[in-house]
Symmetry: D2
Subunit: 474 residues, 4 copies
Amino acid sequence: MILERIKSEGLAHNSYFIGSGVEAAVVDPRRDCQVYVDQAHQKGLRIKHIFETHRNEDYVIGSVELKTLTGADIYHGPGLPWRYGTTLTDGQEFRVGRLRLTALHTPGHTDESVSYVLADPASGPEATWIFSGDTLFVGDAGRTDLYGPEEAPRLASALYDSIHRRILPLGDGVILCPAHGAGSVCGGRIADRDESTIGLERLQNPALRMNKDEFVSYKLTEGLERPPYFSRMERLNLDGPPLLGRMPVPPPLTATEFKAEMEQGSVAVDTSLPPAFGGAHIKGAYSIWLGGLPGFAGWLLPYDVPILLVLEDDSHLEMALRYLIRLGYDKVGGYLLGGIGSWYNAGFPVEKLGLLSVHELKGKLDRDEGLTVLDVRGGEEWDEGHIEGAQHIYVGHLEERVSEVPPDRPVATLCNVGRRSSIAASILLRAGHQAVHNVLGSMTAWRAEGFPVTRKAGAVRSGNALTQASRSAD
Amino acid sequence: MILERIKSEGLAHNSYFIGSGVEAAVVDPRRDCQVYVDQAHQKGLRIKHIFETHRNEDYVIGSVELKTLTGADIYHGPGLPWRYGTTLTDGQEFRVGRLRLTALHTPGHTDESVSYVLADPASGPEATWIFSGDTLFVGDAGRTDLYGPEEAPRLASALYDSIHRRILPLGDGVILCPAHGAGSVCGGRIADRDESTIGLERLQNPALRMNKDEFVSYKLTEGLERPPYFSRMERLNLDGPPLLGRMPVPPPLTATEFKAEMEQGSVAVDTSLPPAFGGAHIKGAYSIWLGGLPGFAGWLLPYDVPILLVLEDDSHLEMALRYLIRLGYDKVGGYLLGGIGSWYNAGFPVEKLGLLSVHELKGKLDRDEGLTVLDVRGGEEWDEGHIEGAQHIYVGHLEERVSEVPPDRPVATLCNVGRRSSIAASILLRAGHQAVHNVLGSMTAWRAEGFPVTRKAGAVRSGNALTQASRSAD
Amino acid sequence: MILERIKSEGLAHNSYFIGSGVEAAVVDPRRDCQVYVDQAHQKGLRIKHIFETHRNEDYVIGSVELKTLTGADIYHGPGLPWRYGTTLTDGQEFRVGRLRLTALHTPGHTDESVSYVLADPASGPEATWIFSGDTLFVGDAGRTDLYGPEEAPRLASALYDSIHRRILPLGDGVILCPAHGAGSVCGGRIADRDESTIGLERLQNPALRMNKDEFVSYKLTEGLERPPYFSRMERLNLDGPPLLGRMPVPPPLTATEFKAEMEQGSVAVDTSLPPAFGGAHIKGAYSIWLGGLPGFAGWLLPYDVPILLVLEDDSHLEMALRYLIRLGYDKVGGYLLGGIGSWYNAGFPVEKLGLLSVHELKGKLDRDEGLTVLDVRGGEEWDEGHIEGAQHIYVGHLEERVSEVPPDRPVATLCNVGRRSSIAASILLRAGHQAVHNVLGSMTAWRAEGFPVTRKAGAVRSGNALTQASRSAD
Amino acid sequence: MILERIKSEGLAHNSYFIGSGVEAAVVDPRRDCQVYVDQAHQKGLRIKHIFETHRNEDYVIGSVELKTLTGADIYHGPGLPWRYGTTLTDGQEFRVGRLRLTALHTPGHTDESVSYVLADPASGPEATWIFSGDTLFVGDAGRTDLYGPEEAPRLASALYDSIHRRILPLGDGVILCPAHGAGSVCGGRIADRDESTIGLERLQNPALRMNKDEFVSYKLTEGLERPPYFSRMERLNLDGPPLLGRMPVPPPLTATEFKAEMEQGSVAVDTSLPPAFGGAHIKGAYSIWLGGLPGFAGWLLPYDVPILLVLEDDSHLEMALRYLIRLGYDKVGGYLLGGIGSWYNAGFPVEKLGLLSVHELKGKLDRDEGLTVLDVRGGEEWDEGHIEGAQHIYVGHLEERVSEVPPDRPVATLCNVGRRSSIAASILLRAGHQAVHNVLGSMTAWRAEGFPVTRKAGAVRSGNALTQASRSAD
């Protein structure tokens, strides 16, 4: 038998491919789903079932796409007016070759959330794996804030019960297969380790070592962001997203063509890393580094006009495209062939962005040069320590709150390592700010140099090294 | 962090690649070890440590090869006069990036057997994975007969203690990473599932549900074969095998060149499947299907003369070569370019082999045509059911016991599906037998048709579907 | 700039990918046309034009498929009621980046045949390459018999003029890019060398060293076969074939499922090589070795029922599928998972075929055992030498002429190396013949052993080593 | 038969793989020569011969490396004290399968230069291909200045004779296979088209349309640069370079480790593109963009200390390594894992470089801000047009002539598109200049904007679009 974890980079999303005999099933397929067809083809399997753990909110699910390619049946949990697939019931059983898969209704992250328990009768009747969706992660539990603050206590309580009454009793030896790994927007403290077991989670997962009251109150104060594209994903995943058929192939554009497209209203995104974006970019382009597309494109990019790409290397096109497709950005209008060099070789003007080292920032602050320090990290990161006097607006909210940043003063944007702050800097430039700087290395470098940090009263810096590790990716 | 299982097909051998920070370690590397170097390269890691769980007997270990490529240090268990690497002690600790790895002396399979326990301090101090070598498999425990029958009781007892006193107490949630999967010669009942945990093994592994006496007596009657190449592997793995440097590239040979090489004493192996080998082959060639090389080459092929290959498809060369290299066959003299077709197109004579369906075999037996039915399966398989009146010699012993087969009567060779029996048929042909037939489908087809089977008194056919599944591969 | 020859194996078909600046064009795309999209993607090009040299008869053209993927325009030659694309005129010019491409009407192979001349103005105004379609090959000229014997003289004369008046005057230095290489059914004597020039052809191509009368009379006696699927290809290529969208993925079938499909009327094809097919196959299956599908599937397989595949190795599926798709076989019903072994392991009966070495054949003939020797090679091969007393029916015609083979006598089928004769043997078995043998190595081995050969009076064996070389592929 | 052109990117070097029957030969193998072994392996060929066209000066030849892997024999031309291989004589013949290869002594580029003529006797006795080394390129002839100005007239005259008396008479239809394509340092005007013929060159190659006197005088004024590493390459290629055995795998380094290595004297090279290098780099690092390594590493990097790499993307490591290995840089000490981000995240200071658009440059010049404009292009490029008042030092000579640049004034470096000028800027920074700017887009953007250009009296801008095209790559 076969069990493969298929990771969607950037989203930190896990789907699973299960095979036995000549049959296969997929749990939570991604939208660029040729990977499952190829797996089945190579292993001599037919995909019979597609199981969804819940209506995902952070990406477009690939179930309908995969069903079109394979004829497999789609199943999901009870209580939503799904416009495709079959709603299953708690305890419903399926066969995948010799394996037995059982649906386990585990509400909490959402009401329709289902986990799937897989057993291998050839070894014994016991549960062997659990596909826990967004109910239980390695090191964390699913978020419970998606229905808004009124519903959050009810969901948190349901999640506690789902975990403690339904999942933990399956036994310590059961292997945990969650829908997300570290870096997901679906859980803030997920460990950067793919593999775990119920036994390990019982011992190590902080969320499982609380009593119910502690758990609910922890959940209510998590403070995770809810990006605006979530509601679009939810709608698409309820109704069934448009079919791709195959991966689109956006055309290469010359500088002149690219310019013309921008003038027609297309939105440009530059996926270079901060030093390159700072060095030269096209006026009006958003800065979102390649690996940041899954997390930040949805905050900023419109769905109704074409997206144009400026890539640090033309070979990044496929990955950029996958990232966008997974978020439902099906209109990619093209990419600038040869990158920013083609632009300035054509004699077109480039815009620059000030880049500051932390030493330069420190100097400016010490000299009191009237610089606004704009920290665009999340609330929890801010609470754990920031530069005295800095202004705090989360990067996702900056575009709507940009008027809060004093327009007539120079500003230095700051995050954890300088990538989100490059996004922020591009938002400020688009809004007409003149003297914008991005701080390379940001708080990571600031701390490494031992420069002073202020903490919110009562806040402690997370001792969770994993959380820090995963954050350093942005 | 990264944990990758790297499977060596055919040997059903698992090695493990562990990475954290910029450091990596490999447990039980195979000899064609570029795969680990590539992993490290892609992930930006430096291989620092190589850990051996024991002196392997079924393949040539790649530690020295990998050390040469990377400068990593080699560690192995206590009590053997190793001529390379460092002998470690029970409880010795290592760091791989942020991970902590602890050696656990677990004798039983062999005296120097060591397991390695890996913990991730970022999640907690508890053991997370165990690399259990040949001590504990998914569904079985290591064999204890390698030192001969006198030592077997002592080893079985030690193995019981290693498992029950040292491994099981680590906790049910610990993920099991054994050195072999289903199909290995190192355990007869290993499940065809790669993943397990201590908790699942406690519940499902038959070998773990016995008390000590039952376990020892089960181990003493396992009846596994001990191929002659084991002692060669043991010696090479103690002294350090010759360095390959890079994978050798055996030359393509024309039919004329191939013939000349055979006349110089090289030994030919035809890796075709039974129907093709039966249809036409070169006189004197052994029949060992491609996937059977890891398990059967070592029983038959000499180490002191070059091996020549006849491949069903020239693209099989690389896999055939890997299989042979892993068994220490470094002298591969070439392969017949274009396969058997090149041979007969050149006008060279081919030899054929009778191929019988089970229906034809049944007819011949019913008509009492004086056919010797030679069953070459293992003892346990034979005991579980065979054709009345058949002769039994295990394929591995046939060459030395070939005189026991009546030379003047037609013979039909038989195994589980017809692959090992094709080996047997080629041995009989080499020994001068004239009327040799191979039974396609063998006992699997015989049973599928409902033809009668005789059981040894008291033997019961294994109810273990997994065992059957894994056997059907040969 | 870029010029890539993309070969479709089996068909010996060449298509060409031309790129300059950001533009690309494809000449004669194949139906599985993702390869061109990938090329464009990797090189940063947009496919703007698709040029067809003629309405192909030996495969389904991929123009419409590629247009759907890329939006490129399709062009073809004058005089046919095309139902897609644009008909161009002699001398029409196109730009591909900085390159200039000119259509050259070169009738003869067919009336609408067009060649395309490519020049690189950056180097000079002279023609640099010619895409000569089926007008001029390396070592041969296109066939002129496709409109039937009445039209053949007219076409041959036109072809002579196209070559001598339009192509050769372009200059000796022009690089020749024909639509086919050695092994194509579109020319019997094409050299096994991909590259040539007009200058080399003038010196070396036998067809170009004749005067017009010699050329016409050579063309009228070529004796090439015209398979029945040609007319289907022609119709599809005139109207535009059905769109694939993506490569279909036929399901793996268990033996039981495969059997059920056959009982529903699906036709099985076994793509094993002759020794394996002879050793064991499913009753009723055609024998067509994998590489023989492009040349022989169209003679035998129906278009209106599903095709089922028995593969020598499951990894051959993709290639088998490409071969069938290129001939318009869009209904592939599945493949037998695990190949013939799965069949006989299930206890299902297998059929065998006698396999004879040439020494055995010689013995039987010397002993006058009443064997029919059935030679299924082409007419020209037969004329150049055959076994005294053999019967001659071309493999492509055997199914309709099978009643001419004496049904009550044993028969040995024979071709050049034993592959086409395996096809023939399977036709005989399907027709109810009982004692059918295939001669391994066939005439190649027969000649290698120096056995006697009879020549048709006046026939000389071709001195063209290339022709022999290309034939030995079957 | 097979003929494959294998291109070594960056060097614009072509090697050729020839196969026929079971034999193969390689012309001018590169040092990272696994590619030829893989080709032979895939095609079922044995590499028998290695042919060198001349002692190359621009890269380390791979003959000895390939011989070690395959046992093939090495041949090269007469007149040098080779310390490996066999010196052949004019007219010496070889067989590669059925093909016939003949050595043709064609001195001029160097005295020992040999071309190889390949014929396919199956088609006819005529020459079909010529491997012309550095004697004749597509659109240009080899340089004749390598022995210094005294010898240049003699060499130019010999080259003229080799081309006109020995190569052109082979016939217009012969296919040209030169050792270099566009962008090579071995010829300034090579076309960006891989394929040509003698006939096309006769018509289109400017160097072939001159009489002998014109040709010699053209050659004497070519003004190509002779990098200092040429003499090292020549010595290595005469004596036989050190064996690699396998591609080295430089270790990933943390920022701290990288810093320590630099402090030990290792030299850092940053392969980022100009905007990123300008945005942030490590003080002291050379800026050589990835694709510029083959052309410029040899001018700047020492051979006696380890080279350290800062990569724009870690996946560029392999290509960077190949480029360096081909120039004999075998000591690559490691690369900065995670690139420049790792450096500044660690809190280490970064250095920046001013980046100017051409509009900014124009503004500064118009305002007469006292800026030194340093144009680092080649002499011919400079002559064809430059900015009034600019200083000219070729990038390759800048390090030794750096004192000529006024140290106390701001300087803007300029080349064709801004890459070589980034190298120059890094040299100035290393030399202690404070106010250094690189002009993005450089002369290409300057011209695109229509800003004024001064020409050397009598100089005309090359009408050769290809030359311009190839230059725009740097």
